[in-house]
Symmetry: C2
Subunit: 244 residues, 2 copies
DNA sequence: GTGGGGCGTTTTGCCATCGTAACAACAAGG
DNA sequence: CCTTGTTGTTACGATGGCAAAACGCCCCAC
């Protein structure tokens, strides 16, 4: 059977039948290489495609009329991207590759057939979009009610924990692959202030850096500072119908 | 057939079969009255229930360790509430009634059966949760990258447009039913500053107020100020499977 | 009717946080 | 070598938070 990183991801939550895996793999039949910095989707463009991210990193963002940018979400391999085009005819957000990536585009009619034929997968997608929703509300609380310092801390922990979902090898350090300006645009700060906070945290021994690689030196305190909770531990999908 | 405000809401997007309507109506078999201010769900509590909001208003929020509150979402009749409990065993957010309300709780196993038997409804729920996701990213951009003035403007417009989805009678005024402190907690400001902005906007003739009722006097300028786009106009669910 | 009590709004003064602008240092890559 | 992009650093100032109090309003008890 063809491997599918999307099926692999979903299978981390619930067991999948072979038929389901095969159907999911079909979404990834048309892998497309995208160079770092290339646009995958432009805001307001008519969209009928969605994507599974197979390799590399992608971000979604919007540009406000005054030119400032808000990064909405950073995506990692196995993530399902562009779900907004299931319901809006024009893209509400832009997608750009943060590194050289491989995305697998598929038409929403392919998704339709999948949802139609594999109700259990439809339910699963619904559940996972609820998890995404919670991730967004967590960041909303972060932007709305916490200090710059707390936002940086929770942002680092969030990226760290998400990377660890798929990469077991990570223990305490990771490649952020984001400029400080991008971090700022994700958590509502300027690059200058992100820099202040990061250097401060480095001085205090909370983190350390060696050419772009971040090492978390005191996760306990970082969690406190960022008011961060790792949601991944608390998932429960056992109540879904069994496969078959 | 029993009326179901949830079915009515969904039917605004796509036609539903009688069987689907009936199945949706079953979710609302146990209406429960909730007094203004009463908790419907407490953060970190074990949850197995979800809700359809039939009447009144509800908000979801979290309290941070320093006591500050972030309001995550305000809900109106026909909204589907508490979707996080589909995937997390403990509630990531609290739910409280903003007015005297009627909610219809149902167990997630009832949802399971619905998703299982009516794949088209499952798909529809998935799509609508994607719309919710976009609503959240819009507010994320608002909190991360816009001024206090812009946040207030877009917040008012957002509530206004959401009320108008179900209540055709609304033309330019509505009952906000939120204190300025609550507005602030929703958009990341203090009540003091919300007050400053609202009075400023009133002085400029952008809005006017009479005992809690807001009238939007210049929606065009409000949309500009808030960098607001009404997403409701742009929905497209026609590609879903047909009923039957 | 009168006198609270509670709740929300209005108002003020002060000041911390964070943004703006500008530039230096440095690395990578053509 | 020059260009381009990222990080580091500073000075200055605006936005919006904080604390505190007054005000208006509604409801209730007396």
């Amino acid at each position: 059977m063809a491997t599918s990183c999307f099926a692999d991801r979903l299978a981390k939550h619930v067991p999948l039948s072979d038929a389901e895996k095969k159907a999911l793999a079909r979404l990834e039949e048309n892998p497309r290489k995208v160079k770092r910095g290339a646009m995958i989707q432009r805001v307001n463009e008519t969209v009928t495609e969605l994507f599974v991210l197979r390799e590399g990193r992608v971000m979604s963002f919007v540009i406000l009329p005054d030119g400032s940018r808000q990064i909405l979400r950073v995506y990692f391999p196995g993530d399902f991207i562009g779900s907004a085009s299931t319901i809006y005819s024009r893209a509400p957000e832009s997608l750009v590759a943060l590194s050289d990536t491989i995305v697998c585009p598929f038409d929403k009619h392919a998704l339709r057939r999948l949802l139609d034929e594999y109700p259990r997968v439809a339910a699963l997608l619904f559940l996972l979009s609820n998890a995404e929703r919670v991730a967004l509300t967590d960041r909303l609380a972060s932007l709305g009610r916490t200090s710059a310092r707390a936002r940086v801390a929770s942002f680092l922990l969030d990226i760290f924990d998400r990377l660890r979902v798929t990469d077991e090898g990570i223990t305490d350090s990771f490649d952020l692959k984001l400029t400080q300006e991008e971090i700022g645009d994700a958590i509502g700060l300027t690059s200058v202030h992100v820099n202040r906070m990061i250097r401060q945290m480095e001085q205090e021994g909370l983190i350390s850096r060696t050419n772009g690689r971040i090492t978390l030196r005191d996760m306990g305190r970082l969690e406190e500072i960022g008011h961060y909770t790792n949601r991944h531990k608390d998932m429960d999908l056992d109540w879904l119908p069994q496969p078959g």
